[in-house]
């Protein structure tokens, strides 16, 4: 049996969940023995294989049209989608901006910031993606497994990867569920 293919990507997050993935330390070798790590932000491939992967992992929420596209591509190319970390699960820290309008947040970021001078301007190049409300991955595409935590503990990530690589659905409960 060939090793299951795993791809990951990050959206509106801080890369912390992928850092936590690296925190599994030497156990990453065990993961590599069990799984074929394909496109990830920390490998050279930038898109999940066109002929599909077994497991797709998304870190971060969805806060613009570009994120939407990445999420939809991952969903269409993976059999089993994991939302990794609080941003992917419900929006996380970026979702705090949902308490304001998009105009307010853009103005704050590009015009009103203390470090911005009079020439501050909200970018409006048509090539740019459009910002949206910050959404959980599950609000845009179907998610099969939610792994909460900010970031999820390395042990939890290893548990998830190891279980998935061996063809089992990981159970996240008790200590693995508790926010640390």
């Amino acid at each position: 049996m060939s090793k299951p293919k795993v791809a990951s990507d990050w959206l509106a997050g801080c890369a912390g969940c992928h850092m936590s993935l690296l925190d599994i330390d030497e156990r990453i070798l065990q993961v590599l023995e069990l799984a074929d790590l394909r496109a990830t932000p920390i490998t050279d491939l930038k898109h999940p294989d066109e002929d599909g992967v077994d497991v797709g992992i998304l870190e971060g929420g969805i806060n613009n049209t570009a994120n939407e596209a990445v999420a939809k591509q991952m969903r269409s190319r993976c059999k089993y989608l994991v939302a990794l970390g609080d941003c992917a699960v419900f929006g996380g820290v970026p979702a705090m901006r949902n308490f304001f309008t998009i105009e307010e947040t853009l103005r704050r970021a590009y015009v009103e910031t203390e470090s911005t001078d009079d020439s501050g301007k909200i970018p409006d190049d048509p090539e740019l993606c459009k910002p949206t409300n910050v959404r959980a991955v599950s609000e845009v595409v179907k998610v099969d497994l939610h792994v909460p935590g900010c970031p999820p503990d390395a042990d939890v990530i290893f548990h998830v990867l190891a279980e998935l690589a061996q063809g089992r659905i990981p159970e996240i409960k008790d200590e693995k569920l508790h926010w640390h």
């Binding site: 699960v89 419900f90 979702a95 705090m96 308490f99 959980a136 497994l145 996240i172 569920l177 926010w179």
Partner: protein
């Protein structure tokens, strides 16, 4: 008895037991949120839904009375999915993102409920509606974003403190917790008892000292007794790394059942006085830091020749905030060994006359518990919303059950707003009032007294008819009488005439013990050559300072710097109430043990240790079993 079967476990429970309590007895765990053991069942959150055989829908276990031969299932798929649904709805309502709030103590009951159901996420996102945060209160913050509308706080405010400040406004998704009629909490009728923050299951009502500053599981908890007044409430002191984190009411405490007032819960948190951290001795007119040896030697040198002087020796005063062991040892040193005729407590004679005639009360002597069962309560010479507030809560919370409360005062009483029977008399007319009431009950003529009391006949008639028709009436008195002895005797007479219980709500934490040791005379220097003030953590009054400031040699045992320590010749640093063990006798005569919950600074000794060191320095005889004796004596 009712026979009920819960998850296959059969048991008998008394009629009226709820399904939830029956399940608890059977050892079956049903998750709850709006339910609280100290509050009436409410049935608001629906997390405790269970399946009852024969019932059309799921039933809330907290409000459902157990029925005979009822068969209940608490762990079916239907129940579990209902629980998840209920939690999903709560999470989707406001800002319940654990990552935004997690550090509020790690004891969030909403979070724990979600853990209990293995929820990794919620299926319905909230609508990102920000709610106001009311930070107008000096001690706590009301964050509507975290509120789940369980109304525990509203019920605690009403059922535990009888204050009815908190309530709900609007309906449905617009429902919002309000103080009074929607004014900032800090401007409201809130009396800062903090019961609401103790029962809040989430981070919606949080105190300013412990919230967001670490998890509760990293704190140390000590069960001890509040010494704010003579009620003697049971408290739980939470500390982390020897820092006071929070004071909570002890739900299991017999006296208060978990309720506290501002004095017990918050005043310890806002303590700002400077600690005395080293002994100090006056040299060349200035107080200078000294070693314990030096300081004790300075005292011993002065005191050795004064032993045995009844009139011109040491005049000594001890704080009634100190444990019985300290009071007893203090008495042994200065009354028994020094033979001084001026050995008293900081209460001085305030309660002495009342105590001297207390034996006359006999069967009419009541206890705090009588307040809860009373159908009529009259208070004379005391405002229980200002001090001994927890006793006031017992009275206030009985009002909705029909208890008629008659606060009698010459000035505004905080209780007035809660009762239609508030009675205003002339200043210093307590005695006249009590006698007028007695006369009225006996159909005697007392126009002159009534005039002195400043009351209309109709008012007196109303009060006497309430007391006459009451089955369990209680007369509560304070200590603010101009003629304490006569007033007290008149009250005893009134109690006999109306078959009422008489409850005295007076004094500091250990006033009762001090009275039993006869440490209750007015303090005068009167030729004594030294004043010894064992102050502990009590704040000295101006009167006290005036009395001792000209004493030739002033020794003060104090936890804090004050105007008194500034005038002292020797200051010895002693422990605060949180740093020492000992026994307290509350106003009911109940003996309670206080436990040390914080470690004292390195050069600070306990009040008891200092007295014993001093006794050893002076080669005084202290009975070896003084502590045992102290306990026996109280």
């Amino acid at each position: 008895m009712i026979h009920i079967k819960i998850d296959g476990k059969e048991l008998e429970v008394p009629e009226g037991t709820t399904v939830l309590n029956a399940a608890r007895q059977a050892g079956v765990d049903i998750p709850t949120l709006c339910d609280h053991p100290a509050l009436e069942p409410y049935g608001g959150c629906r997390l405790c839904l269970v399946e009852v055989e024969g019932a059309r829908t799921l039933q809330p276990a907290c409000t459902m009375p157990a029925g005979n031969n009822m068969v209940v299932h608490t762990a079916t798929e239907k129940v579990k999915s209902a629980r998840k649904f209920v939690l999903s709805m709560i999470f989707s309502e406001r800002n319940h993102f654990c990552m935004y709030c997690q550090v509020s103590g790690g004891d969030c009951e909403l979070q724990n409920a979600a853990y209990g159901e293995d929820m990794t996420h919620w299926p319905i996102q909230p609508n990102w509606q920000p709610y106001e945060v009311d930070a107008s209160h000096p001690y706590f913050v009301m964050d509507h974003n975290r509120c789940i509308l369980c109304r525990r706080c509203v019920r605690a405010c009403a059922e535990l403190s009888g204050n009815f400040t908190l309530g709900m406004e609007e309906r449905g998704a617009k429902t919002i917790l309000v103080a009074d009629l929607g004014i900032p909490l800090g401007d409201s009728s809130c009396i800062s008892c903090g019961s609401c923050i103790q029962v809040c299951p989430t981070g919606a009502l949080i105190d300013r000292w412990s919230a967001y500053l670490g998890k509760d599981k990293d704190t140390q908890s000590t069960q001890t007794v509040c010494i704010g007044c003579s009620v003697g409430c049971g408290i739980e002191v939470l500390s982390r790394n020897n820092n006071l984190v929070r004071v909570e009411g002890n739900w299991d405490a017999e006296v208060n059942g978990g309720v506290l007032c501002e004095v017990g819960r918050f005043l310890p948190m806002v303590e700002e006085r400077d600690r005395v951290v080293t002994p100090m001795v006056r040299k060349d007119g200035k107080l200078k830091a000294a070693t314990w040896e030096e300081a004790l030697n300075t005292i011993a040198e002065k005191y050795q020749p004064l032993i045995g002087h009844a009139n011109n020796g040491v005049a000594a005063m001890v704080s009634t905030r100190l444990p019985a062991e300290v009071l007893y040892t203090f008495k042994q040193v200065f009354a028994d060994n020094f033979g001084s005729n001026m050995v008293t407590s900081t209460d001085e004679e305030k309660f002495a006359t009342l105590n001297s005639v207390k034996s006359e009360v006999g069967v009419y002597e009541g206890k705090l518990t009588d307040l809860e069962e009373a159908d009529a309560v009259m208070t004379v010479g005391i405002d229980l919303t200002k001090d001994h507030q927890v006793a006031g809560f017992f009275i206030k919370r009985a009002i909705p059950n029909g208890t008629k409360v008659i606060p009698v005062n010459y000035e505004a009483n905080g209780m007035d707003a809660f009762t239609p029977y508030a009675t205003k008399i002339n200043k210093n007319a307590d005695l006249a009032f009590v006698k007028t009431l007695s006369a009225n009950l006996n159909n005697e003529e007392a126009a002159e007294l009534q005039n002195k009391a400043g009351l209309e006949t109709a008012e007196i008639d109303k009060i006497s008819s309430i007391l006459k028709s009451a089955e369990k009436s209680v007369l509560v008195y304070g200590a603010d009488f101009t003629q304490p002895e006569e007033t007290f005797r008149a009250l005893v007479k009134l109690a006999k005439e109306t078959n009422s219980k008489l409850v005295g709500i007076t004094g500091k934490a250990n006033s009762t013990a001090a009275a039993q040791y006869h440490l209750d005379k007015p303090f005068v220097m009167n030729g004594h050559q030294s004043a010894m003030i064992v102050l502990g953590d009590e704040e000295p009054t101006q009167t006290m300072i005036k009395k001792v400031e000209n004493s030739p040699f002033l020794v003060v045992l104090s936890s804090y710097h004050s105007a008194l320590t500034a005038k002292a010749d020797v200051v010895l640093p002693v422990t605060t109430w949180l740093e020492q063990d000992g026994h307290y006798v509350n106003l009911d005569g109940k003996i309670q043990e206080a436990h040390k919950s914080l470690q004292s600074p390195i050069d600070v000794k306990s009040n008891l240790d200092v007295l014993e060191l001093l006794a050893a320095k002076l080669n005084l005889e202290l009975s070896a079993e003084s502590l045992v004796a102290a306990e026996k004596a109280v």
